[in-house]
Symmetry: C2
Subunit: 166 residues, 2 copies
DNA sequence: CAAGATACGTCAATATGGCTGTCCCATCTT
DNA sequence: AAGATGGGACAGCCATATTGACGTATCTTG
């Protein structure tokens, strides 16, 4: 795998160090951010999978099971376990769909809202510090690159989440 | 409350939606990027944990076990299993440290290098496309924000990885 | 040199969060 | 009435992580 020291104008090769930098920063950044909520989750005996469900239910009240499945991209069985546990702890409640009574609309209880908000504080603290240190210009770039990592078929779903943000 | 060191308009309390957007984009971007290598890993019966080890050994040949443990932030036992499996498949080899013979210096075999390079193609394809779509300015911002997510005590480690990038 | 610290390995037990496959029920659609 | 869809549930499996304790080789230091 000998690499010439003066590379030709192959854009793919030229980007290697930039790509490695991105891979590494994404790895460390993502894992550190998720670690920031572990303590709060542990207090309730919950894990990150529970947080992901909580988060997206908080984000889109009256989400259905199948919508949540598409967002999380896990199996019905895996999600079932998580939702059962969240229900048992009184953090999530469901009601039958209005239009389609087979559906279950997911919502956070008051307790669930409070807990999600508590976890969100940790996320906000970390991200806000990073945003502040980097500056608004950088934040825009940060978003743009991440958007480019999301495959076309998923982009509508992500955009929908952010649709009704004020 | 006198906080002399922060500017008056310090956006510590960013608008919530900016933080949620970052959380979501990081989640989707990171998970989609990691999924891009699953197929390649599956062909060898390996998982993402194996890739992380492979990746960092590729990045820093002659890495020691304890350095790798610090990077991955997992336990010795977890890493032990991963390295055993990589060794059995002839992807990673070790030799005793030169200065300190208790150490094991980790290296990829030729096979290991080829495999890591193959996986890297998928990462590069995804990230390079995102970089190209976003533009160089954005890439810089992307890096800056992610750097800000890494706690001070880990930053030296990450910087060391990128020290000898050409 | 003896004592202790360090680098690494290993055992056993456990938790978490995924997966597949199969079958079921209620409800909506045609 | 038949079929499609939303959701639940069973059984079993796998990957990846954890803790705690103990062992061995090697380096460092009083």
């Amino acid at each position: 795998m000998a690499v010439p020291s003066s590379p030709p104008a192959s854009p793919l090769f030229l980007r290697e160090h930039e790509v490695r930098r991105g891979v590494e920063l994404l790895f460390f950044g993502y894992t550190r951010l998720t670690r920031s909520i572990d303590e709060g989750l542990n207090e309730h005996g919950l894990g990150r999978a529970h947080h992901r469900a909580l988060y997206f239910i908080a984000r889109q009240p009256d989400l259905t099971i199948s919508e949540l499945l598409r967002i999380l991209a896990i199996t019905k069985q895996s999600l079932g376990r998580v939702l059962t546990e969240l229900g048992e702890r009184g953090l999530v409640e469901t009601r039958p769909g209005v239009i389609d009574r087979r559906q279950k609309l997911l919502r956070l209880t008051e307790q669930g809202k409070a807990f999600e908000a508590q976890l969100f504080v940790a996320l906000r603290t970390s991200l806000a510090a990073a945003y502040a240190a980097a500056g608004q210009e950088s934040v825009t770039g940060f978003w743009r690159v991440l958007e480019g990592l999301i495959p076309d078929e998923d982009r509508a779903m992500v955009a929908a989440l952010q649709k009704d943000m004020r």
